[in-house]
Structure formats: C-alpha cells, structure tokens
C-alpha cells in the first residue's frame, strides 16, 4: 500500500510587498492531520505568509521555497495551487456581484474533476453543509458574499472549504466577526472535516476561545516577519494571559508597529473617532 502524506514545506521564505520586506525568513512544515496556530501582533506578517502560499500577485517571493508534496508551489498558478489541495479562507473575502454561490461553487468543484459533478449530488452536498453551518437557505441563489454580514462572509469561506475538500487549509482570522454560537458551529465543522479527511490546518487567530475548541497541535508566533517562538497549545494560552511583552523582553526584539496614515481627509476625520487622536 502506498500512503500519500500531504506535506507543505516552507523554507527560509522572504517576501516583499510594495518593495518592502515583510517576511524575513520563515521556516514551517505542515503535515496532514496537524493543526498549526499562527499568532502574532497586528501587521507583522501572518496574512502575508498565507497569501504568499496561495499566490496573491502583490506578494513577491525574493528568496526561499514553498513545496507541497515535493512539488514547487511557487511555479504554480493560483488556480493550480487550489486544485492541488491548498485552500485559503481569507481575512477579507471578496464580493462577486452577479455570480451566485451555487454557480461559483459548482464551477470551482468542476474545475478539479474529470467529469462534472451531477446537479443532484451538488445540491445535496450544498444543502447539507448550509444546514450544518446554520446559514440561510437561499444562500445558493445569492451572489457570492454580496450584501453578506461579516459573520456570513466568514461562514461562507468555511462552506467553500467543506465543498472543495482541500488537503491543507489556511484560515485567516476566520473567527473574527463571528458570535459565540457561530464560532462553535464553525469549529465543529472544521473538526468534522479534519476527522473525515485528515485535513492539515494553519489557523491565524488572535483569540484563545477559538483555539480552545480547535486544540492546535503546534503553535507559532510571527514577529517582524519571522517565527520567533514555537510550541504547542500551552503557548496559545500563555499569550492569551500575558500578551507578547514577555517575548519582546526575553528575545530582545521589537514588533512592527502598524503604520497609520499621517494625513486624514476631513471626511474620514468626521466619521472615524480614532482620527481625532491620530
């Protein structure tokens, strides 16, 4: 018997965004069945790592490698990466007006099949997943994320994941914007999928609540474009209790401060209470 082990390997990854180096040498290995928690302060490179693995055109790899089951991911187009089994649930999912969820998902499923999925099978699967996630029944006929609430958009990402059956899924702050009940639904759905298909996961989140349910097997903290500390789920709880300051002290490092725009337009000032202090 040949056992195929899904394995994503990232070696010494350096990434530029708009001519600025954001990732400064990341090493990470994710295997099927593992759950990796990725934490770190705002603006320090978590989403950059995930978007780069998926192949977003704004992120330029300047050195290092990403391979999936030994194949060079950096040589693959974005859609090829998806068809090979990588999935990214985005921090800010896009709206596609005019294209229904059902048409979108069916085309996405068919893009990875030799023979198109039967309409019957598709509808059955879609309905069952919609009800697992307690989403509105008319979802299939609504346009992709168009007019969705923040929480609906996040659930829709998980719905797509459930329909596409990836081997390695990356979830970028999938829990933000979800209420307590929805977090439970979503984490149950993720765990069920993991049980069924031995999915490997990379999960970015700022909140312990989600990780308590998901129970990561590994954890990593990204500060200023590097993984500065790794551990198991204990590390998640420590950070939730103590924050990041102890890390900065111990390792003598500084996080990247989120850059705020220096000039606010009057319009923005009027609407943004934080604008006043900026």
């Amino acid at each position: 018997m040949v056992i195929i082990m899904n394995i994503l390997e990232i070696k010494d990854l350096h990434v530029n965004v708009a001519e600025k180096e954001i990732l400064k040498g990341v090493d990470l290995v994710v295997k099927q069945g593992e759950i990796h928690a990725i934490m770190g302060p705002n603006g320090n490179g978590k989403s950059t790592l995930l978007q780069t693995i998926m192949g977003h055109p704004s992120y330029t790899v300047t050195s290092g490698s990403i391979t999936f089951n030994g194949e060079d991911v950096l040589q693959m187009s974005v859609d090829e990466r998806s068809r090979k089994g990588l999935f990214l649930a985005m921090q800010y999912p896009k709206e596609i007006a005019g294209v229904t969820n059902s048409d979108f998902l069916r085309a996405a499923i068919n893009s990875r099949l030799e023979k198109n999925i039967s309409l019957f099978k598709f509808i059955k699967e879609m309905e069952s997943n919609i009800s697992k996630l307690k989403m509105k029944e008319d979802l299939a006929h609504r346009f992709v994320n168009d007019g969705f609430s923040g929480g609906e958009k996040k659930r829709n990402e998980i719905l797509q994941m459930m329909m596409l059956h990836p081997s390695i899924a990356m979830l970028d702050e999938i829990d933000s914007g979800l209420d307590v009940d929805a977090i439970k639904l979503v984490s149950d759905a993720i765990l069920e999928l993991k049980e069924k298909s031995d999915l490997g996961l990379m999960i970015v989140s700022h909140y312990e609540r989600f990780f308590t349910m998901i129970k990561p097997t590994h954890s990593h903290v990204i500060v200023d474009g590097r993984i500065v500390v790794e551990g198991d789920d204990e590390l998640v709880y420590k950070i939730d209790n103590d924050g990041y300051d102890w890390l900065y002290d111990e390792l003598k490092i500084q996080p990247v401060k989120e850059s705020r725009p220096l000039v606010y337009s009057l319009g923005t000032c009027a609407r943004n209470p934080r604008g006043k202090n900026a």
Binding site: K94, A108, R112
Partner: protein, 242 residues
C-alpha cells in the same frame, strides 16, 4: 406573441413581437397605443447590420429588449417618442466586439411619460464600441420621468468603449437621472476566484454570464426566454475558449 424574421427592409409592427434580424438594413416602424406591449429585438445576422427604428407610444406601457451578442458590426439608430400617460422600459445587452455604433434618441413628449433605459455592455479587446443615449424631456411634458443607467465592463483594454448619457430637459416638473459605471474585472476578485480553482477563462465565464444575462426574468415572458439563455451561455463559452 408572433416571431418575425426580419428579412424585409421595412418592417411595421403593431403588437408584441420577437424580431429576429436577418437582413443588412432594417427600418423598423411602430405606433403603439392603448395597451401593454413587449418587444424583443434579437440580432442574428452573420454580417454587419444597420437598424433604424422609429417609434411612438401613446397611452401604453411598452417594454423593449435588445440583445446583440455577435462579433459583427452594428449601426443602430433608435428614435422613440413617448406620449401622454405612457411608459417605456428599455433593456439592452451588447457584447462589444467589432465595430458598434448605437444611438438612442428618446423623447418624453407629453405629460406623464415615463422612460427607463438600462444598458449592459461588455467590451472585449477588439471592440470599437460607442453608445450615445440621449433623453429629451420636451416643454409641457409635466410629471415625466427619464432615467438612464449603464454598466460597461471592459476586458483586456478594448480599442474603444464609450458610453455617453445625455439629458436635455425643457420642463421643470420632472424627474431625470443617469448613472454610468464602468470598469474592468477587479484583480482581487480574480485572485479570489483563482484561489478556488478557477482559471482566468473559467472566472471570466462566470462573470460574463452574469453581465450578459443580468436579469433572466426580463426575458421570461418571451417564448424565446430559454433560447436567449442558451444563446448567451453559448456565446460566453465561445468567447472564453478563444
């Protein structure tokens, strides 16, 4: 609803119809009164077509849909006068490839005349597309309305994609507006679709379908409703396989 294959130069209609153009030049004439009418004009001629249209509408409610998905050249001049207590709803769908020049000249002639025109356009790389949409509210046409909206999606930098809405208003007690949105496919949307496994052509296919069949219901009342859908899907598949 009769289906008229327009083989003649001059075509006079006086009831709801589907008109399928099969001639180089067609002069379409109508005076519609006292009723509800639906007219569908489908261009299916494999060469350049010139369509001249002269219509007037009185005491009626009229819907006209234009569907042009071919790559052949088109010259269209449409002049419609809307008289007392009448409404005109126009829906157009154009695939901009080749050389297309279209002028709508729509008149609110008398009180209580309502005009609403929606244009859906997709322009491809080889398009030389011009649409001018002129709404004129004549003096004395009180309580009239003239609304125009146009969406133009451009793909791969067309040679020309010009949509020009114009409003001439000669009366105070009226409502008029126009909106125009145009743009190309958002890079982020394309990335999102790619990230689900769709390549550029597959993504484009979904987006074009939504543009070229903006409202299935609009055509549902015509016998050709399903035919139109199939036709649009076929055209889109054709474009996306190029």
């Amino acid at each position: 609803m009769p289906k008229i294959i327009a083989n003649d130069d001059v075509l006079v209609i006086n009831e709801s119809s589907t008109i399928i153009t099969r001639n180089k030049t067609i002069n379409l004439e109508y005076q519609l009164s006292d009723g509800d009418y639906s007219i569908l004009i489908l261009n299916d001629y494999d060469d350049k077509v010139t369509l001249n249209e002269k219509g007037s509408i009185s005491n009626s409610s009229v819907k006209i849909a234009y569907l042009e998905l071919d790559r052949y050249d088109l010259e269209q001049n449409c002049h419609i006068e809307v008289n007392k207590d009448s409404s005109l709803q126009v829906n157009t769908t154009y695939l901009g490839t080749g050389n297309k020049k279209i002028v709508f000249d729509l008149f609110n002639n008398e009180p209580n005349s309502l005009i609403d025109i929606n244009n859906n356009i997709v322009c491809l790389e080889d398009a030389l597309f011009e649409l001018e949409c002129i709404g004129t509210i004549r003096k004395g046409a009180k309580r009239s309305k003239c609304h125009q909206s146009s969406h133009c999606l451009t793909i791969d930098n067309p040679r020309k994609a010009s949509v020009l809405p114009v409003l001439n208003i000669d009366e105070n007690d009226v409502e008029a507006s126009h909106s125009l949105s145009s743009g190309t496919i958002d890079e982020e949307i394309l990335f999102y679709m790619n990230s689900r496994g769709l390549n550029k052509k597959e993504a484009l296919n979904l987006i074009l379908r939504s543009y070229l069949m903006p409202n299935d219901n609009y055509y549902a009342e015509f016998d050709e409703g399903t035919l139109i859908q199939e036709m649009a899907v076929r055209k889109v598949d054709e474009i996306c396989s190029m």
